[in-house]
């Protein structure tokens, strides 16, 4: 034993304190009384109820229960023993699962790995009986739990510990917190040295008050009052010479991923349990305030947990429950289109206004992977003046983000108050975490207070009482910041009110120097998302046109479909950072959304394009400008189409890579938001205007040459008489890389990925598959590694672009596939589309800021232009890209293995398209070409144009101004709301000619509230735009809405 004695003699103050302070644990529970017997049944949770896979079975101490992603119901009973008479009694449930606790039919509280006790009564009556019922979710994904009782129990299958009734020694518990906070502060890594010495001296004094180490528990218990008194009078007291350093606004919240290691359906319950435990904390701690975001969460409570919803409404009215984030969910903030962001704001804010009477004026997206520069304008237009997002400060891998409080200037110049808190949004009020929040704050000149966000999260859970007990003590510690509990709204308002004149401006996107793989992971969802965004606009436009022609407007059904799109844009769904069951659940939600949109479209078409003769073909133009060119037929075609004057238009079959076919037709101009009917004829198509021959593919615009290895080595631009591909370079070069970014596998692409290329075999075949009047194409096939690919490279007789329509059966693991286009262009900047404006990005790696942006987000196109010439790479569903010198690359596919082991495996279809052009992109037709690629005209067989035949629903005379939404107003579905955006980056004036009568025109915010009136004639309104400005106009049709 000599070595032990040596150790004891040499124990330092910290070790002694740890040893002595831990003795208090033995005093915490004064009495225990078992409950039971218990029974359990296993099943699955659905928001509308459970499905059970077994009947109730007995369960006893130490048994396993549950299964991965499983739920359980447990029933048991408890009787108050005589020994607990008159005392507060708690139910102690040690579990690593998430549990709703019901007692005698009433929802009492929740337990989980961060909470082990719920209070049953303040004054127990002996013999009183409780029927206990638990609803439990077996989870294994942890959220920074610290409860020692349950850490060892974590897993996808649970251990059953018989719950116990307990009475507590409240004074001992308070002392435990006194000592724990003192210990952590005195030996913390961030506590200032002088404060540490002071606190350590106090610990020495406290240790003197402890009875000897081997004393009886009674002696220790007797020491509790004097220990508490000492702590109160000497440790947690104001007026030390240290004072306080800094100020913290402590904002409680619970980050809740709608889906991640759990499905959205399970999140309905997670959200409810999270809210329940926060409500119970409000009962115990009158000062406690709590912030909760996402209208979806409240909608689910209203639908499935109405009693909690009503309780929250009362707390909201009291000002203690803070609704933050004026959006429907917390979406990814890179990938959605402008109109999607707008709907997030509209559906979120309208819900909060209707149900709570609260105008939420902040955007709350702490966890998103960067933020698009189109957001400031959208938020401001939605009545949102404040923005909060954390990750740029806490996660950047290269540069320190320079501001915490600043003005964020968007792509159009709109500025919004923005907070990028300096620390992580999930903390649990440890002294070091509190100090970090202040010590990393960079903007003391702007505000003397910064935010400290606390509460467990990712899967909800939020604040526990320990955090509040810590808060009560830390705020009294010398040398620590002044702290106050407040709301997110209050923090934002007060911080920006102090010195707004000192705010610096951050111009452009809030790029996150991490998680760059989320632009590419789960390619299937990227494709679904892009298509759904256009589908939603098209269907809504059709329904509006139908309503203007007398049909009912199914606002509820439309919103239901739209909300599915919005939920799927959640920041761990669309970016691909979720487990496999979430993938399947999302696929199903997309399917339901497609069906709903399709049904709505058919309803509208029944009015607008009723059935005609079998040979009729009706073409709808969803754009706000007349459009001609290629239309995709919804069935087989042959010969030609013919208009009423006998003009004929070619139809051609096109080959789809990976199998299949489609028919396309070149159609004459179709009026904007109007229809045109043609007729199929059997007459043969005109001869092909293009040629393919040995190793070349050629039409009037381009000549493409493939070398003997079937590599594309020449693209000759006939219009401009210039080579596009530099001598010796290869265009359309697929590049495969090892992509092993470690823990954040689905999220990240690491800076050094290019150091690990994998040689790709050449395309192993090339054959001509089209040579018709509309397009000429070759098909290439290749097998590489475990995957196969087919690509149709297509030239159009009527459009100066080169499509690369692609099918890949992707079987790779931890690999990244890019396609590279070296082009003969010298450009110091490159331009990427955001859907509502562009970002001009520096084309160099001079600084660490540029180096960090080795992979960026682009929507429909990326452009590289020199003085009089440029080349754009368009796409129909990809978002990750990079430009290095004269090489434009698009990220095609990624193959992460975590958290979804089989992520992205399977078939993928996508098209990218090269668009060489004159001058810069603004006057080149690029914007329109990108729309054409993404949203081709559709030709509907067997239908005739009805009331819109040859007419326009709305026309805009300025190509720079595009329509983003054509809808009926949210409130009454009577007035027509038109949302427009300027896309050329210039001041512009547009004349709008609606195809429907109206009384007057209002300029509105996104919530369709009038902000100004605009002069109009009987059939025309003239609107001025700033570059990239979004404007919402309401065409008032009936009674005057301004007085409502």
């Amino acid at each position: 034993m000599a070595h032990l004695k040596t150790l004891r003699r040499n124990m330092n103050l910290q070790e002694w304190a740890r040893l002595e302070f831990a003795r208090i644990d033995a005093l915490l529970v004064t009495r225990r009384h078992p409950t039971g017997p218990w029974q359990i049944r296993i099943g699955d949770y659905h928001p509308h109820g459970y499905t059970w896979e077994s009947d109730f079975e007995p369960i006893s101490e130490g048994q396993f229960w549950g299964r991965p992603d499983g739920n359980a119901e447990m029933i048991g009973s408890a009787g108050i023993p005589e020994s607990m008479a008159g005392q507060p009694v708690w139910l102690e449930v040690q579990t690593a699962s998430e549990v709703f606790v019901y007692a005698n039919g009433k929802l009492v509280d929740g337990v989980d790995p961060n909470r082990v006790r719920v209070k049953l009564t303040d004054a127990a009556k002996p013999g009183f009986h409780y029927d206990l019922r638990f609803e439990a979710y077996s989870r294994s994904k942890f959220d920074d739990e610290r409860a020692l009782e349950t850490l060892h129990m974590r897993g996808c299958v649970q251990h059953f510990h018989v719950p116990e009734l307990v009475t507590l020694n409240q004074e001992a518990q308070a002392l435990k917190f006194d000592l724990a906070v003192l210990y952590e502060a005195a030996f913390g890594t961030l506590t200032p040295e002088a404060v540490k010495l002071h606190l350590q001296a106090e610990i020495k004094e406290l240790l003197k008050l402890f009875p000897l180490y081997d004393s009886l528990l009674d002696e220790l218990n007797a020491a509790v009052p004097r220990l508490r008194a000492y702590a109160r009078e000497h440790v947690y007291r104001p007026g030390t010479s240290f004072g306080h350093t800094g100020k913290l606004a402590c904002v409680a919240h619970s980050h809740l991923d709608l889906a991640y290691h759990w499905k959205v359906s399970q999140c309905v319950q997670k959200n409810a349990r999270t809210c329940l435990v926060q409500l119970r904390l409000m009962d115990r701690y009158p000062e406690f305030r709590y912030a909760h975001s996402q209208a979806w969460c409240y909608e689910m409570l209203e639908a499935h947990y109405p009693e909690l919803f009503e309780e929250i409404r009362k707390r909201v009215a009291e000002g203690r429950w803070d609704i933050v984030g004026g959006m429907y969910i917390e979406p990814d903030c890179n990938l959605p289109s402008a109109e999607s962001f707008i709907r997030q704001v509209v559906y979120g804010k309208l819900y909060f206004l209707e149900k709570f009477g609260v105008e939420v004026d902040n955007c709350w997206v702490p966890d998103v992977f960067g933020n698009s520069a189109i957001l400031p304008q959208i938020l401001k237009l939605g009545g949102i003046d404040y923005f909060l997002s954390n990750k740029m400060a806490a996660f950047n891998d290269t540069n320190r983000f320079p501001h915490n409080l600043f003005l964020w200037r968007g792509v159009d110049g709109t500025e919004i108050y923005a907070s990028v808190p300096s620390t992580h949004f999930i903390t649990w009020n440890e002294p070091d975490q509190v100090l970090t929040s202040w010590q990393t704050f960079q903007d003391e000149r702007i505000s003397d207070e910064t935010v400290h966000m606390y509460g467990f999260g990712d899967g909800g859970s939020g604040v526990n009482f320990e955090m509040l007990e810590y808060y009560e003590r830390i705020k009294k510690l010398p040398g620590f910041p002044e702290m106050r509990l407040t709301t997110g709204r209050d923090y934002l308002h007060k911080s920006f009110a102090q010195h707004p004149e000192r705010l610096e401006v951050w111009d452009g996107e809030l790029y996150l120097e991490m998680h760059r793989g989320t632009f590419t992971t789960k390619g299937q969802f990227k494709r679904e998302n892009r298509r759904a965004e256009f589908t939603a606009q098209e269907v809504e436009s059709l329904l509006t046109l139908a309503a203007l022609n007398g049909a009912p407007y199914p606002a509820g059904e439309l919103k239901s479909a739209y909300k599915k799109l919005l939920v799927n844009q959640f920041h761990d769904i669309l970016p691909g950072s979720h487990t496999n069951p979430v993938f399947h659940e999302t696929v199903e939600r997309y399917r339901e959304m497609r069906e709903e949109f399709s049904k709505l479209k058919q309803q509208a078409l029944a009015v607008l394009a009723p059935p005609g003769a079998p040979d009729d073909i009706c073409i709808f133009n969803p754009f706000s400008e007349a459009r001609e060119g290629l239309a995709v037929l919804d069935g087989a075609g042959a010969g030609c189409l013919e208009d009423a004057k006998g003009n004929r238009y070619a139809v051609q079959r096109q080959e789809l890579p990976g199998g299949g076919e489609r028919y396309v037709a070149r159609v004459p101009a179709v009026p904007p938001l109007g229809m045109r009917t043609l007729r199929k004829t059997g007459a043969p198509a005109a001869a092909g205007a293009a040629a393919t021959s040995n190793g070349t593919l050629e039409n009037r615009f381009f000549r493409l040459r493939f070398d003997p290895h079937r590599r594309l080595v020449e693209i000759y631009d006939k219009q401009r008489s210039r080579q596009i591909v530099p001598q010796g370079a290869v265009a359309n070069e697929w590049q495969l890389f090892e992509d092993k970014p470690g823990a954040f596998n689905a999220w990240d692409i690491l800076p050094g990925y290019e150091d690990h290329p994998i040689e790709l075999a050449d395309w192993d075949s090339i054959e001509v598959v089209e040579n018709g009047p509309l397009s000429t194409a070759v098909r290439l096939r290749r097998a590489f590694s475990l995957s196969r690919a087919e690509q149709v490279i297509r030239l159009y007789s009527g459009a100066p672009r080169i499509d690369f329509e692609t099918w890949v059966d992707w079987r790779e693991t931890e690999r990244l596939l890019k396609v590279a286009f070296p082009v003969e262009v010298l450009a110091k900047i490159y331009t990427t589309d955001t859907s509502a404006g562009v970002l001009e990005r520096e084309n160099n790696r001079n600084t660490t800021w540029q180096q960090a942006r080795f992979e960026v987000c682009a929507h429909k196109w990326t452009d590289l232009s020199e003085g009089c010439f440029g080349v754009a790479l368009m796409n129909d569903c990809k978002y990750g890209c990079d430009v290095k010198g004269n090489v434009i690359r698009l990220s095609l596919l990624k193959a992460p293995i975590r958290p979804d082991r089989v992520s992205d495996k399977g078939e993928h279809r996508f098209t990218y398209s090269l668009f060489p052009h004159d001058g810069d992109w603004r006057r080149s037709g690029l914007v329109e070409a990108a729309y054409d690629l993404n949203w081709p005209l559709q030709a509907l067989g067997g239908r005739r144009g009805g009331p819109l035949e040859g007419k326009s629903g709305l026309s805009i005379d300025t190509p720079a101004v595009k329509c983003m939404a054509f809808k009926l107003d949210e409130k009454r579905q009577r007035d027509v709301v038109v949302r427009l955006v300027e896309l050329y980056g210039s001041h512009a004036t547009a004349r709008l000619r609606p195809g429907f009568p109206f009384r007057r025109v209002e300029v509105c915010d996104l919530l369709e509230r009038q902000t100004a009136e605009i002069a109009s004639s009987r059939d025309c309104v003239e609107v001025s735009f700033r570059p990239y400005q979004i404007q919402t106009l309401k065409f008032v049709r009936g009674e005057d809405s301004a007085q409502e």
């Binding site: 989870r139 759990w262 693991t813 082991r901």
Partner: protein
């Protein structure tokens, strides 16, 4: 639910793919069939299952229970961990 399936390698593979995999994947895990030898079923634990401290005991309990429920009889399950799950 009464046991209806014969315990064969192919039935085991199918059961794992349809019943086990969707559940363990919610936690980022992966279970694959390796062999059936006498009364012992050998499974491989990959991805997060391979590094989960609870896999040996808890997962084994659940899988043995489910095998009994699905195929009848009592079988021993041996779970082999493959921590280098990248090499699956």
């Amino acid at each position: 639910m009464s046991p209806v399936k014969e315990l064969t390698e192919s039935n085991l593979r199918e059961w794992i793919e349809q019943e086990v995999q969707p559940k363990v994947r919610v936690d980022g895990g992966e279970i694959q069939f390796k062999k059936l030898e006498g009364g012992t079923i050998y499974l491989g634990a990959f991805a997060d299952c391979a590094v989960c401290p609870a896999a040996s005991e808890c997962l084994k309990w659940w899988l043995e229970k489910e095998v009994n429920r699905t195929f009848g009889g009592t079988y021993n399950i041996v779970i082999e961990r493959h921590p280098n799950y990248w090499a699956l």
